[in-house]
């Protein structure tokens, strides 16, 4: 029990407390220790990337091998992954800044990614058309605010009514910002609570469960 539960608990609490204290006090020793711990985070995230690649390859390779559903798509995923890895790790390659890798990024990955995201414009337009309907008093408010922000954000709104961008700015700076402040404060309080619970051992997500 001591090794499996209390040792991880004491390590997590000590590391968390050290990073927390170094945030509020300027001390070279604390800064160095905190820097070592946060440096481990970078290593762990990098290791997580390897795990992600391993998981991706194993799942899609299994689907291709078993001729599972949409297995040609999995084949394309694996081909793209290994093609980019080969270009980057090939002897003599300049790594991520190699001209072949840059070509693949610039003329294959970037256009495909941007194309998929561009479809969002049509979804948003369709959603605005269906949602901004005058059905109740609340929907009337939503309709007016939506139209004001849509037009006030762009020059045509200024051409229609020069004060429309000012009205849009007020909506964003006063009512919307007030709501954001409330959300941010709530999230901050929740974060403090969650942090204290982890530091005090009330929550132990790293042990696979909330409590002993």
């Amino acid at each position: 029990v001591i090794v499996s539960r209390y040792l991880p608990l004491s390590v997590a609490a000590s590391a968390g407390a050290l990073v927390l204290v170094s945030f509020f006090f300027k001390n070279s020793l604390l800064d160095n220790l905190s820097g070592i711990i946060t440096g481990w985070v970078t290593l762990l995230v990098a290791f997580g990337l390897f795990l992600g690649i391993w998981n991706l390859v194993s799942r899609h390779a299994s689907r291709v091998r078993n001729r599972g559903r949409d297995w040609p798509h999995s084949l394309v995923v694996l081909a793209g992954l290994f093609a980019m890895l080969a270009l980057g790790f090939w002897p003599g390659s300049a790594g991520p800044n190699d001209s072949a890798v840059s070509w693949g990024y610039r003329y294959v990955y970037a256009p495909l990614n941007a194309t998929v995201f561009s479809l969002l414009a049509f979804f948003v337009a369709s959603a605005a058309y269906r949602t901004l309907r005058l059905r109740t008093r609340e929907s009337a408010v939503l309709l007016v605010v939506g139209v004001v922000v849509l037009l006030g954000q762009v020059p045509i709104g200024f051409q229609i009514w020069p004060d429309l961008p000012l009205l849009k700015g007020w909506l964003l700076d006063v009512p919307a910002a007030s709501g954001v402040r409330g959300i941010v404060l709530g999230v901050a309080l929740g974060t403090v609570t969650a942090g204290l619970r982890i530091l005090l051992g009330q929550d132990r997500p790293y042990l696979g469960g909330p409590k002993l």
Binding site: T38, V45, A110, F122, A125, L143, Q153, Q159, D173, A177
Partner: protein
């Protein structure tokens, strides 16, 4: 339990607020649910559109109950006199009844012993008003009609003839000339729901392409300058030559269209001021985006890699990793991204140890989460001046930090980039992109307004029709 639309009789899932087919409000005050089968009916309806069961009268004072309707009820008496129970003749559910949505659910009117009014004129007229025809005559209903003794039927010779009452009913309904001359209205949403979105997509595509196909001053040089953009510009303009600036490229190709105009405008201004620029990214694709932005601006300004600017690359670890920038930046980035050479001793990084040594931090983040990470882990902790460029969708979330002074300036989306280009007296791609965005917004607003006007007009017509039906 399925909820049936009172307008088109489409079966909708339990809890539906609007009809999936015609968009009619299923829960609004203009509807009344049948106590037997739960179908939605018009408020003034006296019998259920679907099962024919009599509906309880609206109480006095309730909206939708006209004086004429109440008077008629008093004169005509209760409707129960014309009703008999289907349970007497059809004790078992009728198989094979398929709802319009393809489900196999058996309606309550057929599966349960409920009273059915065969000759309810209101039911017939409501269905005709909705353009639905007389409605299905199930075998059980037909059998029930056949079992009625002849003396209970109207003294019409045709009904004592061996012809089925169901056939007679259908024949009467099919004879339009014998019906009152009331206007038959077809619900427009069924057609509009298919056609209008397609028209919206075509109009949106045309609006986006128009400024690029027909170059010109579409905005009429009327791009209003916002204080947040002006503050950003002043923060960069106040830099002394050679001042070190850290630029975070936290966006990927999905938001490149919105973020790269910002990056190009800001980099061009920084290079005009002679600032030393170091680029980092919290996203794996951000380093490549920085390369693209530098390639588009550095040559024109005579900037040399390693001496005047450097791309440090991707920093894994997200928010937690930002704390490492406060210690030793060359330790966090042992080699740069552009040349894969050691960062220690590079000319552009001379005199810089941690993030505190930068005169300004510029965060170009497509999402507010990353921008907030920089604010909380770098600006709040090390007190370094910071400006940010974010997508338009993140503008509201960043407003409190601009108001508090934690951000010295803020660019939002393409409008922010266009304003920056105009402040530099160099209108570029962002201004043209803003023309396209402006027209696209106008198209969406026009469609939204037309849809609301159409819905209001249709609502008035429908209310008038319901009032005439009740009267």
């Amino acid at each position: 339990m399925t909820v049936y639309c009172g307008g088109c009789n489409t079966a909708n899932r339990d809890g539906s607020i609007f009809c999936n087919r015609c968009g009619q409000n299923l829960a609004g005050p203009a509807q009344r649910s049948c106590p037997q089968c739960a179908a939605s009916n018009l408020r003034d309806a006296r019998s259920c559109l679907r099962c024919g069961a009599p509906l309880p009268l609206p109480e006095a004072g309730e909206p939708g109950l006209t004086a004429m309707t109440a008077l008629e009820e008093e004169e005509e008496g209760p409707l129960e006199a014309d009703v008999f129970s289907l349970a007497d003749v059809a004790p078992h559910p009728v198989d094979g009844f398929r709802a319009e949505d393809g489900s196999q659910e058996i309606p309550g009117a057929v599966s349960a012993p409920v009273p059915v009014a065969l000759a309810d004129a209101d039911q017939l007229l409501q269905r005709l008003e909705a353009g639905l025809g007389p409605g299905p005559i199930t075998p059980a209903m037909d059998a029930a009609a056949r079992s009625i003794p002849a003396f209970d039927l109207p003294t019409d010779p045709s009904l004592v003839h061996p012809v089925s009452p169901a056939d007679t009913f259908a024949a009467v309904v099919a004879s339009r000339d014998s019906l009152p001359s009331r206007p038959v209205q077809t619900p427009p949403p069924a057609r509009a729901a298919r056609f209008v979105p397609r028209l919206l997509y075509v109009a949106l595509l045309a609006a986006v392409m128009a400024p690029f196909l027909v170059p010109g001053d579409w905005s009429g040089s009327t791009i209003p300058l916002t204080p947040a953009t002006a503050s950003f510009f002043q923060a960069v303009a106040a830099l002394r030559p050679g001042a070190p600036v850290l630029v975070a490229f936290d966006y990927d190709p999905s938001t490149q269209g919105e973020m790269e105009p910002q990056a190009r405008a800001v980099l061009a201004h920084l290079m005009q001021r002679g600032a030393r620029i170091a680029a980092v990214s919290l996203l794996p694709a951000g380093a490549a985006q920085a390369q693209l932005a530098f390639a588009a601006t550095a040559t024109a300004q005579g900037y040399r890699y390693g001496n005047d600017f450097i791309n440090l690359g991707y920093l894994a670890g997200d928010e937690a990793a930002l704390a490492t920038l406060g210690q030793d930046i060359t330790a966090a980035f042992p080699r740069d991204f552009g040349e894969r050479l050691p960062t220690s001793g590079r000319t552009v990084l001379q005199g810089i140890r941690g993030v505190r040594d930068f005169a300004l931090v510029v965060v170009l983040a497509s999402d507010e989460r990353t921008a907030l990470a920089w604010l909380t882990q770098v600006q709040a902790r090390f007190g370094v001046p910071m400006t940010a460029g974010v997508s338009a969708a993140s503008a509201a979330q960043m407003a409190p930090y601009l108001q508090s002074g934690q951000l010295a300036g803020l660019l939002t989306g393409v409008p922010g980039a266009a304003e920056y280009e105009l402040l530099m007296n160099k209108p570029g791609p962002a201004v043209r992109m803003l023309d396209a965005q402006s027209l696209a917004h106008a198209v969406v607003v026009v469609f939204v307004l037309l849809a609301n006007v159409g819905a209001l007009v249709w609502g008035f017509r429908r209310k008038g029709s319901a009032a005439r039906l009740a009267g």
